[in-house]
């Protein structure tokens, strides 16, 4: 399909700036933006249609809120119900600067922690807004009936989480994401029943409709009948989540995919910082070749669990037989101030390092112990069960080992993607009328996301930010003329989509979609995973076009397109992964520094810590699509730090 090109020889285009964030003190910007934004007359809102793709925390919250405001919302999810979006699997909690503990927390501190945690690659204005809105989220969720953990006095309980020294994480046992998502889903369901949201479950967005330079709708496929339909709107909101599944093995849901964002990218939306992927340190190690996904154990486990490996390489004794002085509690040793609560990237890399030294435990030596013996002795088994019961059960179900008696084994896995569609302060992409919220955008976490901040960002975007900022766009662009499938731009996009699916079905080769997915995933994990090198990335960049070529020669998709065809869904998502993987490697190659989740072996301190290079790389890299396999154009958005001054992160 694609002629080999010199993809790595990208060009640098015009720098881009965020034109929407107001100047002035950071704490006043959000208020000012809201005041300066134009509003849509409530009576006119019903005449505006807004498409929302995805029903996770961001999409569900946005759909419900826009409908409450009076807009006509048309919403999509590939799952059979909006309640199943993968936000549901978030375990640990949600941050908010409530300072209920009187432990010195504040909006200012949450802002500071998040900018620092993101290794100074996020936009200050956005992060401050996130911290401000965080307190409203908790109020909103409690009002919806989200059953957060409470203390005996009836007030909300909080816990501490990786990367911070205050207790600001609200939680609902180990199922916070589920409870928050169900809150948003219920609010959305109310609007669906009221006819304000037109919900299309089991319908997948396959392309973006751009007409006269504006996002005017999407092309979507009904996954049951196979019917491909254009849907039109005055604005499109992508809340389709991250792209971690490009790695095949990740903690994402099996069907989470990058098609919506990648198709938007192909239609003109810049893709920012694709190499910023987060590896989560506490996942259950893989058990064999058949592994189809990885399961995360909440990071909150690190509050009470102690991480260790045997001091001696190759020590095969069962954990119970290794005496205390032959154990290396390496996080507590290297980072005495934060200990087991260092940020995710640091914890992950440390685990990789000890395993590389031959001190890993479990099958293949790809694991470290997370030990609760001390916590059980200190707090009692009941208290530990109260906090982590369901996580322990889950671990035992999967591994057949009882973590109350034997330490858990954990290993890092791909978990979250900080990169995503570039958006301005209004969460609008470079395609006017196209907005991206939640994990689908790149905005708030910089190069590394702190624990319990994804739920915060998804809900902040969905409940509060987007519903304010989208007004401005809709007010400034009065309703467009009606469109139909005969418009040339629409017809072209429709034909594109139909051709792609037809082609996939026509190849009739000899390899399954999963076999290609595993291949590209292993390649990325090897060269664009926890540690990256120039040589490795170049190797991957050579290999990806070959895999893509082989894919279009050998893919086998049985069945037809006019039915529920899960192989076709997978193959179609792979088409996009095979292009996205290339951009990730290029982004990782061009960013010759280490920061957050992006660790370049060439850029580390003598102690083996990540070394940022602010003078060269203090920018967000927004990539412009130039054609499949063609070198993209880099647009830099310089990051200015007026309030939190970049320092080398130190958690020692």
């Amino acid at each position: 399909m694609t002629e080999p090109t010199r993809y790595a020889e990208y060009t640098t285009g015009e720098p881009i700036t965020d034109s929407k964030a107001p100047d002035g003190p950071v704490a006043e910007r959000w208020n000012r933006r809201r005041f300066e934004a134009k509003l849509v007359n409530p009576a006119n809102r019903r005449k505006h249609t807004v498409i929302v793709v995805g029903t996770g925390l961001a999409g569900g919250a946005a759909g419900a809120t826009l409908a409450e405001q009076g807009y006509h919302v048309v919403q999509f999810c590939y799952q059979d119900s909006p309640r199943r979006a993968h936000s549901i699997a978030a375990q640990g909690g949600i941050n908010a600067a409530k300072n209920y503990r009187n432990d010195g927390d504040s909006v200012q501190r949450l802002f500071y922690d998040t900018v620092k945690g993101g290794d100074f690659r996020a936009r200050e204005s956005n992060v401050h807004r996130l911290a401000e809105v965080s307190v409203e989220i908790i109020d909103q969720c409690v009002a919806q009936g989200v059953p957060f953990a409470r203390e005996y006095g009836g007030l909300l309980d909080t816990r501490s989480f990786g990367g911070v020294q205050v207790s600001r994480t609200f939680y609902a046992r180990g199922q916070t994401g589920q409870q928050l998502l169900l809150g948003a889903y219920q609010a959305l369901s109310r609007q669906i029943a009221a006819g304000a949201v037109e919900m299309h479950p089991r319908t997948e967005m396959l392309d973006l409709l751009v007409v006269d330079g504006r996002a005017r709708g999407i092309v979507a496929r009904d996954l049951i009948t196979g019917e491909i339909t254009p849907y039109f709107a005055d604005a499109v909101v992508l809340a389709s989540g991250g792209y971690g599944n490009v790695f095949y093995l990740s903690t994402n849901a099996k069907n989470s995919n990058a098609t919506a964002v990648w198709r938007a990218h192909r239609r003109g939306a810049h893709f920012a910082n694709p190499c910023f992927t987060q590896i989560h340190p506490t996942c259950i190690p893989r058990s064999g070749e058949h592994q189809s996904k990885l399961t995360l154990m909440s990071e909150s486990l690190r509050n009470d669990g102690r991480i260790w490996v045997p001091t001696a390489p190759g020590d095969q004794r069962p954990p119970g037989e290794i005496p205390e002085d032959e154990r290396d509690y390496y996080l507590e040793r290297i980072y005495p101030a934060f200990g087991n609560l260092v940020p995710r990237d640091i914890a992950s890399r440390a685990a990789k390092n000890v395993c590389d030294q031959g001190r890993g435990v479990g099958p293949g030596g790809q694991g470290v112990y997370l030990d609760f013996a001390d916590a059980i002795a200190r707090l009692g088994r009941t208290a530990v069960e109260e906090k982590y019961g369901n996580l322990f059960e889950m671990y035992e179900r999967i591994t057949a080992e009882n973590p109350y008696e034997v330490p858990m084994r954990i290993y890092p896995a791909i978990h979250y993607t900080m990169g995503g569609l570039w958006v301005d302060y209004d969460l609008q992409t470079t395609v006017p009328g196209l907005f991206a919220i939640g994990e689908a955008n790149f905005s708030d976490h910089g190069a590394n996301r702190l624990g319990a901040s994804a739920l915060m960002q998804g809900l902040a975007d969905g409940y509060f930010v987007l519903p304010s900022t989208i007004n401005d766009y809709l007010a400034r662009h009065p309703r467009h003329d009606a469109l139909d499938a005969s418009h040339p731009a629409v017809a072209e996009t429709l034909a594109d989509t139909e051709d792609r699916l037809r082609l996939l079905l026509a190849v009739d080769g000899d390899r399954t979609p999963d076999s290609f997915h595993k291949e590209i995933g292993e390649l990325l994990w090897e060269h664009c995973g926890m540690a990256r090198t120039e040589a490795g990335l170049r190797k991957a960049l050579d290999r990806i076009p070959q895999i893509r070529e082989e894919f279009w020669r050998r893919i086998k998709v049985p069945g037809s397109g006019e039915q529920l065809n899960q192989s076709l869904e997978k193959a179609n998502r792979l088409v996009d992964y095979l292009e996205l993987a290339e951009l990730m490697c290029l982004d990782a190659l061009h960013r010759a520094e280490s920061c957050g989740g992006h660790f370049r072996e060439e850029s580390q301190t003598e102690g083996g810590e990540a070394e940022r290079r602010d003078e060269e790389f203090s920018y967000a890299a927004a990539w412009e699509f130039a054609g499949t396999g063609r070198a993209p154009v880099l647009h830099k958005e310089d990051l200015v730090f007026e309030y939190v001054h970049p320092t080398q992160r130190s958690y020692a």
């Binding site: 029943a193 009221a194 006819g195 304000a196």
Partner: protein
Amino acid sequence: MLLMALATRTDRKQRTDRKRADGRPSAVRTLWGSTIGKKAVMAVSGLIMLGYLVAHMFGNLKIFFGAAEFNGYAHWLRTMGEPILHYEWALWIVRLVLVAAVVLHAVCAYQLSRRDLAARPTGYAHRRRRASYATRTMRWGGIILALFIVWHILDLTTGTVHSGGFQPGHPYQNVIDTFSTWYGNTVYLVAMLALGLHVQHGFWSAAQTLGVGSATRERMLKATANALALVLTAGFVAVPVAVMTGVVS
């Protein structure tokens, strides 16, 4: 917004009887229009019949104290409530209440059963039974009991199908006649076993339906259901056994 919600739902199911925005249907209508309501009707009618059965059983046991006492008790049933009530009025009130209970119980059971069967149009190829025998036999047990009631009334109240010469006002002899035939005993024993099973699940189920059940009361309710089932079955079965063994003659 509320009207729109109504419109959406009404369109979907062509429902016109339920109102939302401007008041709800009456409690009786709500009750009869819902599966939970019908179950509540079954629970209450079932409990009425259960109460009656307990009294009936105690009455039956008087047969062990001789014909005079038993026949006297039967006569009292007719004079009960006098002088404020006329002869047999109280008995007829009881009968009417019981007929109403039986009819309501049966109609609800029939309607709910049809609904339940329709809700599972296709069964599993791999069959597996886990619910208790009592639970699974509620429907057949109910049918057996309904048929038994008809036979029982024709046999010992009206005497239409009675085996010997039916003598009004002499229930002691009538009972002995009935339990002197093999089929009289068989019908009665089968029905009483069905009754035990029906009461065992029915009492517990009624408690759940009426919202009395809770995690803490679970054990107490189950024990009560078992005890009731056992005592009723034993109490009723004692009479034919006594006749068969000659203890009562």
